[in-house]
Symmetry: C2
């Protein structure tokens, strides 16, 4: 048993070696309907699993593509080290596709949504939340509570459409108090470097139509039954994760405690340019990952590859994601 | 930052601690549509990725549940070792859900299908191929070639419906010559232990309506352009994998070189009761996994968790599956 793709499996060699398809199959193919959709489409990006007696649905928004992730994306790693990590994960080195996945907790009081995605306003490769919610049998009007991890654009922009109209007509918004305090502070906004001014403006713009229904919560607060806020500051000043529980079952909504797992789950010491206080972000992630690894708590990562959930194990000087197995049963 | 699920997150404690949902959200929930589907449903189980210029679609059939996988499922491992492996993979120890995933290669001559699934005739938790093909925009009539890895029931039963009628009206069937020779041999059938007689009968029954369109291929044969058979005997006498290629891109259709990766991908020395010649199956799997790990060939495993594809890396005394990241783009 041996195969050598260089000699045997170039397209031309394969064609030369291969017998023609038998006449039967060829004739039948011509008689059959078109062999495949003209434009191949992907399965809808939602996935359901149980949390005790509740149902969690993760919903994919698509991804953002970052060119040259080995250059300038990690502040404190050599390009060669980043490229080696990418190759080790069988990922391309020319670009990094960063997925976005929001989480929906179905409750008798309505849907609870964790973060909102890009709203289709941050690039053509994302904006699939409305279609994927619909495919899952869910609608924005059913969302009665939106819980925010932090105020970066890929998490809050989906609050409104491009005209600033609120997407979630019936939702109360829960925000971490320190996150709100930072971004809404006019001093912080005016002192922000030029490159950050858009982010401050975006925060004001996206929350504006929800003004009357924003609830600020303190670190450690119980947001709703079975939803507890966990302070995970560093990525942003008030970045917050959420521990969902039903009976003994638990799921941690990580938010951006790590970006793509190949980056600072496997390399918790890497400081990504998105981390606003990188040393604090690193300390937070090590503390949280130690805890979820020890307690075997299932995690959902906003930037994990879809369906974006699994368990964290300690490995070497970092951690590894063990993706939860997909099941056709819920 | 600390959390203790035992004290804080029992359902009753959570309810006692939690503030009631604010009136706004409650009123709006009552006014909104039903918060979630009455019976939560799962996303359709298909997934597409590119192989060079071609498109591969993996299609999930569901799973079979085996109770007590630590007892009698692995011939040469202690129950405690099997349980430890399951716990290490965050899997239950009381049962093992073994997924089934067929592969479709879309070609200008029609669809090429690798194995057929259970046809909904081997238990209530499987039989999703027709619905998932439909969700993917594909139909059984478009299948012009079916390529079999081996003749175990979960791979061939989907060839016909319960009445023995062929499901794939336009398909030629490719079978490995040594697999056909073994199962169709009347001496082998008559000498088979009682527990195996049903398997021999099933082979005859499923292939019967395709008699005039069966092509037997030798190990190493080119089945069709870009589809090469790779002898991987052991699991069954003629078990065969297939290497798909388009240009430099390659995908190995493993079949049952390993069952669930937690079993003999991570523990290649474990002999599962389904392996008909377990020492040969072990030698085959070590040889094949060494090769795909070295050559970095993407693999599809029939019993891998959906979407059932990824890369194999050597780790310790065995191997580890690195699942390919799901992408909303194809």
């Amino acid at each position: 048993m041996s195969f050598d793709r260089r000699t045997l499996f170039t397209a031309s060699a394969a064609a030369a070696l291969a017998p023609a398809l038998p006449a039967l199959a060829q004739n039948q193919a011509q008689g059959a309907a078109a062999p495949s959709p003209a434009t191949p489409f992907q399965a809808p990006g939602f996935y359901r699993f149980r949390l005790g007696g509740r149902v969690v649905t993760v919903v994919n928004d698509g991804f953002g593509r970052r060119p040259n992730p080995a250059q300038g994306f990690v502040r404190n790693a050599e390009p060669a080290a980043v490229e080696a990590a990418l190759r080790g994960a069988f990922m391309p080195t020319a670009h990094l596709d960063i997925p976005y996945t929001v989480t929906v907790l179905e409750t008798p009081q309505g849907l609870v949504l964790f973060d909102t995605g890009t709203g289709g306003q941050l690039g053509a490769t994302a904006g699939n939340i409305p279609a994927n919610l619909r495919a899952a049998g869910l609608a924005p009007e059913q969302v009665t509570l939106i819980v925010m991890t932090h105020f970066h654009g890929d998490h809050i922009t989906g609050l409104t459409d491009a005209e600033g109209k609120p997407v979630f007509a019936n939702a109360e918004i829960v925000v971490p108090e320190p996150e709100w305090a930072f971004w809404m502070d006019e001093g912080e906004a005016s002192r922000a470097p030029e490159a950050m001014k858009g982010a401050f403006a975006n925060v004001r713009r996206r929350f504006a139509p929800y003004q009357a229904r924003i609830r600020r919560i303190a670190p450690g607060a119980e947001v709703a039954p079975g939803i507890r806020s966990i302070a995970t500051f560093g990525h942003t000043p008030g970045h917050t994760s959420y521990l969902l529980a039903d009976g003994d079952a638990q799921v941690m909504i990580l938010g951006d405690v790590t970006n793509h797992p190949t980056f600072n789950l496997e390399n918790p010491g890497w400081h990504l340019i998105f981390d606003m206080d990188a040393p604090m972000a690193e300390a937070t992630r090590r503390r949280l990952f130690d805890q979820v690894a020890t307690d075997r708590v299932r995690c959902v990562g906003y930037h994990f590859p879809f369906p974006a959930n699994g368990h964290v194990v300690k490995e070497g000087s970092g951690y590894r994601l063990v993706p939860a197995p997909w099941s056709s049963a819920i």
